[in-house]
Amino acid sequence: MESTTISDILLSLIALLIFPGGLFLLFVGLAYEWIDRKLLARMQNRVGPRWFQPWADIIKLLAKEEVVPDAVDARLFIGLPIIALAGVLTAAIYIPFPGLPPVGSFPGDLIVTIFLLSLLTICLGLAGANTLDRFSLMGATRALTQLFAYEAPFLLALLGPAFVAGSWEINEIIGYTDGHWLIITQPFGFIVAVIGLIGKLEIPPLDAPEAETEIVAGALTEYSGRGLALFRLGKGVALVLGLALIAAFYLGGVATPLLFLAKTLALLLVIVGIHALFTRLRIDQTVGLWWRYGTLLVLVQWLGIIIWQGVMI
């Protein structure tokens, strides 16, 4: 560590704060949010937002007064959105975004990354539970219930590629998957991972935690200004990172930025299609879906991998 120079530190800072993490990631997150909204609108026979709409939304929200309601812990209320966004931005360090090797890497960083992504949901749940608003409380309960439902299958689905690659380090896994389309050998894992991402980001049909017609905005009902903007930014970033992770693991790697763009956008198209086609699931149906089918599918797949490897040896 003695050999670290000023320029090394500067480069690390740039990687963290400007490119590929930090500002660039926020920008891409909002761009993907726009693509998501526009595609959905076109599928629903609507015109959809113009290209700058997500940025305009965020700027407007950031400029608005943040109302801190009575009877909340103000520090938590303000701090949770920051922690959530910081969590997903930290996760970016270990993810091959945008088609470049991860900035940082150590054995077992896959687990750290997945839990950093979960931090967003946990912060969301805590933010809802922090207020006395009844819609927020219902939303928080549902968000955390959903977290417990999808987290284990999602984790198992992402560990499938790690298992065949023989490493829990993202950098090494993508080294293996580059050229190996695991979607063919592990189709169940891919399906569970995609639906897990939908659940993580609370995209319909798994949007029971923020079901508008039932509980208004769920856990975020009391958030108005900066907090809401930060949570939305966090979700945009989590969307990009989740897509990157799944594309890298299951769709033959994302070795170049062009491949990254093509594969993540194809995945996004699938997710938007699911969003447009299905009715919202109730929270009990969501939990049932995960524990009855999701987990079972992944476990069957794990069994398959283990038997296959046993046969090969």
């Binding site: 599928m43 208004v216 929270i283």
Partner: protein
């Protein structure tokens, strides 16, 4: 508010401002986890004093006032009123006018049912279906605008007839739109009976048995989805419905799916009636003369609005203004069934069950003072009412 055991129950307020409700109404839902244990409703947020207002207007002016009770079924309100007043005055309306009234009423039923279908899909979180149904609904709105110039309050009726005639170009436009909508409705019927995800939210949800539906006094498609034989167009044909009979659509299942199926199947009846009217539209005048002063007397006018039976009581004292008009809209009849059905279901089903009766809250708010022998004079002068309002808000905004 009831208490569950000794615990205080957790209540979720739906309304008066809530994304699930397009109009102000207040539902207080007590939940145990996600399960609804109790529900109450408070009506009256959109009371507009229309019944009182028509008493100071002439018979003709009242028509326009009453037409504005509902923004979705404006024609049927005017039609119920006109039929009643014409009956009181003892005038015979030309058959062509009656046929056009029925034609417009059926067009209105189509746009109302499609509107409801979209809203119900939205409550279930199926926004794609919502967007598609509302796109298709525009066809009907264009037709209504085509011959009246208005999309909402088309004001087709006058006392003694109708204002607008159907000419050849409109006939072609209506036929085109109907054939398009018929195809789309077949598709939607497939969606509500076959889409597995949608059926998870409708099949077996909010089941109302036939006896429940009768006891709770439900009307319209909500009652017919529980196999209750209740349809004014069939039971007491008015206007031209005796010449163009409709078939009653019944379903015995009584759940949300049945309510979807009944309403969508009713659309086919509407399409058929409209085409039949276009085939055999009688010639003749559009209006007949009606006296400015209506003979003293009282009458009841019942019509089948898209949501169910619409009831008008009209009383005349022989002058040029009504003595008393009472309008009872179908939503108020169906409201108790909602509160009853919610209990035992999940909070997520609340918007769906509520939408299942096709509520139109702003139409149903009337005020009745029950004076049970006590002295309850609550008459305000304008000044006193204004002062009361100022005091109230000063008291509550501290």
């Amino acid at each position: 508010m009831s208490e569950v055991g000794k615990r205080e129950s957790f209540t979720v307020p739906i309304g008066p401002q809530h994304p699930a409700l397009k109009e102000p109404e207040h539902f207080l839902i007590s939940v145990d986890g996600e399960i609804v244990t109790d529900a109450t409703v408070r009506l009256g947020y959109a009371h507009r004093g229309i019944e009182k207002a028509v008493e100071s207007r002439t018979w003709v002016q009242s028509l326009y006032m009453l037409e504005r009770i509902c923004g979705i079924c404006s024609h049927i309100h005017a039609m119920a009123y006109c039929l009643g007043v014409e009956q009181l005055a003892g005038v015979e309306v030309p058959p062509r006018a009656q046929a056009i009234r029925v034609l417009v009423a059926e067009l209105e039923r189509i746009h109302s049912h499609l509107l409801w279908f979209g809203v119900a899909a939205h409550e279930a979180g199926f926004d794609t279906l919502f967007m598609y149904t509302w796109r298709d609904r525009e066809k009907v709105m264009d037709l209504l605008e085509g011959f009246s110039g208005n999309r909402v309050n088309y004001s087709v009726n006058v006392l003694g007839g109708v204002k607008f005639d159907i000419d050849d170009t409109q006939e072609i436009a209506i036929r085109e739109a109907i054939s398009f909508l018929e195809e789309r409705t077949h598709h939607y019927l497939d969606v509500v009976t076959q889409d597995a995800m949608f059926l998870q939210r409708t099949r077996g949800i909010g089941v109302m048995t036939r006896s429940q539906a009768e006891v709770l006094g439900t009307v319209g498609p909500t009652a017919r989805a529980s196999n209750v034989y209740r349809e004014i167009r069939v039971e007491a044909p008015y206007a031209a419905y005796d010449k163009y009979p409709v078939k009653i659509i019944l379903d015995s299942r009584g759940d949300l799916e049945a309510r979807f199926v009944v309403r969508l199947t009713e659309l086919f009846e509407s399409y058929r009636v409209i085409l039949e009217i276009l085939e055999t539209l009688p010639d003749g005048d559009l209006t007949t003369r009606i006296p400015r002063r209506i003979k003293a007397g009282e009458t009841v006018s019942r019509v089948e609005a898209p949501r169910g039976e619409l009831f008008y009581f009209i009383k005349s004292n022989g002058s040029d203004t009504p003595e008393r008009i009472r309008a009872r809209t179908p939503t108020i009849c169906n409201m108790m069934s909602v509160v009853k059905l919610l209990v035992g279901h999940q909070l997520a089903d609340v918007p769906m069950i509520l939408a299942g009766v096709d509520p139109c809250f702003s139409c149903n708010d009337r005020m009745v003072v029950l004076n049970r022998g006590r002295k309850m004079e609550q008459l305000f002068t304008w000044e006193a009412l204004r002062q009361y309002g100022i005091d109230y808000y000063q008291r509550h905004s501290a």
